[in-house]
């Protein structure tokens, strides 16, 4: 596995929807490369024969009756929204002008 470089970090930040300035990239990419190198040792120990564990305690899906139960009122759900209109979340335009 290869280490992370500055352009990788820029690409990942875009995927994760976090704007990064040049200064951010300078600061974080060096630190991230060190961390990635350190955690890469996970691939050293476990062979093909070892099963993966996704959850610490074995659990199966739980179900309940398909009946309506009380939940958040619409006003409560919208109370902390940065913007709302007509009982809905309001966002800036989805597509840019170039689209």
């Amino acid at each position: 596995m290869s280490s992370l470089d500055r352009s990788d970090v820029a690409r990942l930040a875009a995927l994760a929807r976090i704007d990064m300035t040049d200064a951010d990239l300078d600061r974080l990419s060096g630190q991230l490369a060190v961390i990635v190198d350190a955690v890469a040792k996970v691939a050293e120990v476990a062979g093909e024969d070892v099963p993966a564990t996704s959850h610490p305690i074995p659990m199966s899906n739980i179900h309940r009756e398909d009946v309506v139960r009380p939940s958040l009122a619409q006003d409560d759900a919208l109370a902390a929204a940065p913007d709302a209109e007509d009982g809905r979340f309001r966002v800036p335009q989805i597509l840019g002008e170039e689209a």
Binding site: R17, M20, E44, V50, I62, P92, Q93, L95
Partner: protein, 505 residues
Amino acid sequence: MSVTDWTRATAAQMADALAAGEVTSVELVQAHLDRIAAVDGPVHAFLHIDAEGALETARAVDADRAAGVSLPRLAGVPIGIKDVLVTKGLPTTAGSRILEGWIPPYDATVTRRVREARMPILGKTNMDEFAMGSSTEHSGYGPTRNPWDLDRIPGGSGGGSAAALAAFEAPLTIGSDTGGSIRQPASVTATVGVKPTYGGVSRFGAIALASSLDQLGPCGRTVLDTALLHEVMGGHDEMDATSLDEPVPAVVEAALEGARMDLTGVKVGVVRELSGADGGYQAGVTQRFEESLAKLRDMGAEVVEVSCPSFEYALAAYYVILPSEASSNLAKFDSVRFGLRVEKTTVEKTMLATRAEGFGDEVKRRIILGTYALSAGYYDAYYGSAQKVRTLVQRDFDAAFERCDVLVSPTTPTTPFKIGERIDDPLAMYLNDIATIPANLAGIPGMSLPSGLAPEDGLPVGFQILAPAHEDARLYRIGAALEASLAAEWGGPLSAQAPELEVAE
């Protein structure tokens, strides 16, 4: 009991005094609010204080008690809640600027249980942003300071909950532990903290960090107090799909049994890989650990060494799994439904700008690390391998628990370090959690309790106890026995030795 300063009492003593009519809940709450006003400026354990809400609960409890209404054991005993839990009507930020000013429209299950237990909520305690950190320096609202030495970290992520106890600002607090965020702060502040078995406490309404690792738990200054709060918090909840459908372990009974200081027949395993056997642990940490082992032997326990070789890979696996799950959990902070919005021309640009401004550096590092580990072409090498390491860690624990009832180690390799010392070196920061992380990977319960002060710096050292899944009660029995044995030597609890804090006028 006759007490001049109620903030120094244990929660159990407060509960007994309330029941006996020797003090009122209003008096207890006011004493703690006064203490917070006097010392929390420099300590900064609290992000938000709800004086009026706490007093209102206290007045209602006092009125019901006067009217002869039957009340829960801790009714009227004040508590602080880590800001990771949502509290209806009270600001909740998880230590992040992206949630600044957010007032949740609902209560977490644990918040509801605290309210049903009629415990006045003093406020919300400080934490590393989204619980990512081991020092509380990554809080978006400034660090918490360790009451034992204000230049030092109180641990993290639950530094606020631990410092509030050590500074006598609250007798009980709630924490969350993803890789040690309850136990490591307890260790460096000479308090007690427990991470229950995964699923033992409902996480409904806990702002998620890494869902396969997170667990809420109780924090106190004594093992019995911690047990009393554990029983309030624990139990099945159908609102959390990972909640265990089984009774809360009898932890209070176990703590009372342990206090009788008889450990005849108990087998205690010292985990070689977690005990600094290969060096790297501070001398005073090792010394206090060895002394505590001697106490356990004096009480009849048999102490053996066990080896868990795969633990060498636990830290690396943890720092793959946690960022991966966090990068997914934190996608919900998208500027649409709640929290910060930095308005730009399109929703995508708004999202990019909001998350850039709202998240701190450590959160950004971990989101990017997780995005990388989950991305096409790298998934098998990182996340897939880390999940296999998890299996190996569980097998090591299973083998060790075949031979022993509990496993023990120092909670942290060192006493608290200075604020700022490791802030620019993430990897050095991560190493704080080397001894606490394996329990989260395996889902087993763990406790940290004080084992003394390191001779070289006079700062707290923590003793960690681990038990098999569902056997939380064992932590309390062994912990209460060790606590009683050490208190007999010290002439009282270690917390009483904390230096006096300067009191604001």
